[in-house]
Amino acid sequence: MAKVLMKGNEAIAEAAVRAGCLNYFAYPITPQSEIGEYLARRLPEVGGMFLQAESEIAVVYMLYGAAGCGARAFTSSSSPGISLMSEGISYLVGAQLPAVFVNIMRGGPGLGGILPSQADYLQAVKGAGHGDCRMFVLAPASVQEAADMMADAFALAEKYRNPVMVLGDGLIGQMMEPVSFKAQKAVAMENKSAWATTGMSARDGNTPNLVKSLHLDPALLNQHNLDLKAKYERMAREEMRWEMYNAEGDYQVLLVSFGTMSRVCRTAVDMLKAKGVDVALLRPITLFPFPEEQIAMAAERSCCKAVLSVEMNMGQMVDDVKRSVGRQKPVSWYGKCGGEVPTPEEVAGVVEKTIADMDFT
């Protein structure tokens, strides 16, 4: 299909419709409100359902109710709104329901700001909700990738019956880039008769389906959590995604960066290369599961003297990078937040300083 110039938010909305998602619940919040505005017009055209809820708390439970019926549904929000949905995300995980969340991150804490940020990394990958609760997290670095990820997000949510988050930032949402929508046929949700509350008359047999997360028997709850854990481990085995840039040569420093920040790093890598400084970039595309092995292997190369995690926050992913690298190489962090996006020049400067600070002789 021909390319169209679209805002990330609008491309995400259109991609969801093309992925066969006809149900959207949300509450307005900057910088992602265009998703809802787009769908308020678009969904009625395709017989879909748009509902603006009274709060993000209501949104997440509307999503739960719809997903519990086996309907493909999604919502979008930005950081403070995702916090309000946190309880419901845990319920979705506990009840094993498929649902897609888009978080177009803004700066925090509290009301914070409205400009791009990656400060919800820990919330998304570690603290999505109470309990042993994990979300699958995808991090797009362009409008095209954000659009492509919507179809993937629904497929993953339904394959694993688990919430999936597309974790973008204000820049991904607000920026316009050319995007082409892949010609795809929306696939129907499979096997939902085994669990969804579709009404008993819609199914064979006389057994009610229950959508719930309560397991008062400790042995059953333990088993339920073991089952969820096995699911997370399967995600790590089968769905891990990452990308290497300029990793063929003898790089002195390995950058690890995701989303918008990784593009800034890519330009920094090019700038340094022009100066004769070899630096590689590893971009995690899935943040949960996290490409630990890939980072460890890239850091293990004898040419690599240091690892730098570059983030639009005060150092969140760096903990996972450290865990992946272990003690074999020094790992440090560079970043800014609140809408201050580090420039390629700044990142290149930090890399050069990192190299200068290490005495290689």
């Binding site: 400009l115 920026m175 420039t343």
Partner: protein, 185 residues
Amino acid sequence: MQTEVMFAGFGGQGILASGKILAQAAMTQGFEVAWVPSYGPEMRGGTAYCLVVISDAPIGSPIVKRPQHLVAMNRPSMEKFAPMLKPKGTILINTTLIPVDAGRDDLDQVMVPATALSSALGNSKAANVVALGAFIARTGILAFETLIATVKAEFAQKEKLVDLNLNALEAGRASALDPCRGQSI
């Protein structure tokens, strides 16, 4: 090769729109593009700006500290952004609202009374398109024909505005190419 153009002015001057037309035209001509807006409360009447990045290779950082070109529609935005421009870049100055120059002798300064020219066409709101026409005519970063085609497509739903904006492009081009007006290094 990568080129960056910043558009800046008051909210309501069509800053985001002229940036979008440029991005659209560049995409049509086969370039990679990214259009990065300012957003939030500042959109409502305050300073608005957007950055258009145009490249023949996939665009890395969409954040550019020192853009190559600036289309400045009012004085505060010129004063804010002109010092950031890369040497040998181009600055288009809307002289109707900006009575001074950029104070830099390493830039190609294109002096165009965009708002006045637009008003002369019967609608001061097309000043952004006058400026865009002037900028493209002067820099030649895109074929002017592509720009014309893009404006036609962009306003296809609002037929009344097609002629106004085509005339605006033309007025901009004439002004930029008039050796008596343009002032270069």
